[in-house]
Amino acid sequence: MDFMNTFRLALRALARNKMRSALTMLGIIIGVAAVIAVVSIGQGAQYMVQQGIQAMGTNVVFIAAGSGRPGGVRVGYGGVKTLTIDDMNAILREIPLIKEAAPSVNSRKQIVYGNQNWSTVINGTTPNYFEIRNWSIQSGSVFSDEEVDLAANVCVIGTTVAKNLFLDEDPVGKTLRIGNIPFRVDGVLESKGQNVIGQDQDDAVYAPYTTVQRKISGITWVQFINASAISPVASVAAVAPITSLLRERHRIRTGDDDDFFVRTQSEVADLMNKTQGVMTMLLGGIASVSLLVGGIGIMNIMLVSVTERTREIGVRMAVGATESDVQQQFLVEAVTLSMMGGAIGILFGLVGSALISNFLSWPTLVSVKAIVTAALFSGAVGIFFGYYPARKAARLDPIEALRYE
């Protein structure tokens, strides 16, 4: 018997018990809709995280002065004094994968303007820091390289600082004090919001690193180097040469621990993606349990249907239907049921995730992969759970089946 015929037969058999077919499909519909909605919510969250990571700057290689062991006492990140601006220049000079780099010298200080004061992080760096971090200026301008060389008292501030210190005033051109030292505000940065670990990135003041080293912290080393590689792949590839270069420059003997850390954005991104991926899989797994339940519903109804139609099966066999004809007939019926449920479920899932992103303003990302998977999965559910009833039908003895009341 050809397939189109079997398919038409299946549709007709399902149409005969409309209510029953609809209820059976409902299991699959809910399952598939849940999978689609959940996965698109998960993917939306993942997309958000990715955007966040990208906002931190692309291709970034992050080098931190590490926990060396000066005199046997371990100190935390940025605690050792061996990472210098010369290290940064050496990296730029000798590792072609790195195209730019900016130092970071951090210090938490109380800052004052008029009768307002605010505690924030003073970040000493160079103007290209903002390029590396993909960060643009909202108003005013960034201090210049000459001002870095001169250790000038200039700074740019984040929007949180601007809001808290200057209230409604325009900070550009105004002078604030860090401790007792006056700094001219050259510009205000674009708001960048929270980073992926929830820190407010706009709560910071950026000044030339020379100024921070000499006038605020009184140190000669740097805590961090923010380097930018020529591509995301290069950022990972640069880790090894940077490590060996710095070990050499810091005269660390083979077998001794590094006194610095090298991290890339892609490592962070990978980790974040993995976490999100696990979440999505978990939610998807829960949703597919309902698909399973839907499948069992199909099996149940198909078994009832085989029993009800025992005589019909007997007649079909008597006039020449082979076992595989009968099996195919019931299998196609089960698959039609589950695939129709799947199609309706996909539709509901799409509508559902659209509603969620509209009313809960939660970003959803409908993935084609999820839709295709759901469609295939619902088909597979039909085959898996339809197989046993179909087999049962095919195995009927025609004589018994014809006698069945």
Binding site: V315, V319, S324
Partner: protein, 285 residues
């Protein structure tokens, strides 16, 4: 009661001509019911030639249904051989048997066994679907078969819209649609009134005589067996009698003596009226 039911004299084999279509050789059928084994057939040998019209008779438990199932390739003999149209089918697989049923055999059942909520035409088409015939050819052949049983104008009706006799005629059309070598009918008139039964027998006689179709029917009704040409009688799993039917009935003639449906209705009405007139006394005639 079956002892002298069939008026016969000579053995059948001598009369039948044509090539042998069915040959059973010492067929046994044993049903294994776990604790006990039931010997349904104990060595049946039998030959049916092309163009015969055979009635299979016997009380329940005689093995006539079993023999019918084996002849219909719905069941396989435990022992012995069955040649159908020259081919040994006793050792065939289920799939091969399904194919044989589809191509060589036509079935008519007591319960009609039509698919409900399916038109007469589609019911008749059913065997052609499994024969892999194209949809156009299927409809054409089904229509032809319906025409042969005089139901062409009812092609679109569902079984529930047809009378018992009409349903059985649809079933006969279904049995004919793949142009089988043999028509097998199991108590084909068991669910029908006398007149309709004779009408069905008329169709069988026409098919047998005018088109040379070989027919085997199972019946427990003596007068139905009387329309066949040859009668087999089974008892205790064995073929006990195999005789030519003498004083054969011709359905066409019998029908003339029976009241038509309208006349029957008129008669019933008259009976009722008479009963009314005589009060509700005894309904005896």
């Amino acid at each position: 009661m079956a002892e002298q039911t069939i008026p016969v004299t000579e053995p059948a084999q001598t009369v039948a001509q044509g090539k042998p279509l069915i040959r059973l050789e010492n067929v046994h059928k044993i049903y294994d019911l776990g604790e006990i084994q039931v010997q349904a057939l104990r060595g049946v040998s039998l030959e049916v030639r092309e163009g015969e019209f055979v009635a299979v008779m016997g009380p329940s438990g005689s093995g006539k249904s079993t023999v019918m199932n084996i002849l219909g390739c719905l069941d396989r003999p435990t022992k012995g051989r069955y040649f159908l149209d020259g081919v040994d089918v006793s050792g065939m697989s289920k799939n091969e048997l399904a194919r044989i049923r589809n191509r060589k055999l036509g079935f008519v059942f007591q319960q009609f066994n039509l698919l409900s909520r399916t038109s007469a035409l589609e019911n008749v088409e059913l065997p052609t679907v499994y024969a892999g015939i194209s949809p156009e050819e299927r409809a054409k052949r089904a229509m032809e078969a319906l025409t042969r049983v005089g139901l062409a104008e009812r092609a679109g009706h569902h079984p529930s819209q047809l009378s018992g006799g009409q349903q059985q005629r649809v079933a006969i059309a279904r049995a004919l649609v793949n142009r089988p070598a043999i028509l097998l009918a199991d108590e084909p008139t068991g669910n029908l009134d006398s007149r309709t039964s004779v009408e069905i027998m008329q169709i069988f006689q026409t098919l047998n005589e005018e088109q040379g179709l070989t027919i085997v029917i199972v019946t427990h009704e003596q007068d139905i067996a009387q329309y066949a040409k040859r009668a087999l009688e089974f008892r205790d799993g064995k073929l006990r009698r195999d005789n030519i039917v003498r004083e054969r009935l011709v359905a066409r003639d019998v029908l003339k003596t029976l009241p038509t449906a309208e006349e029957q209705a008129a008669e019933d009405a008259e009976d009722n009226a008479r009963e009314e007139r005589h009060g509700h006394g005894d309904a005896e005639k």
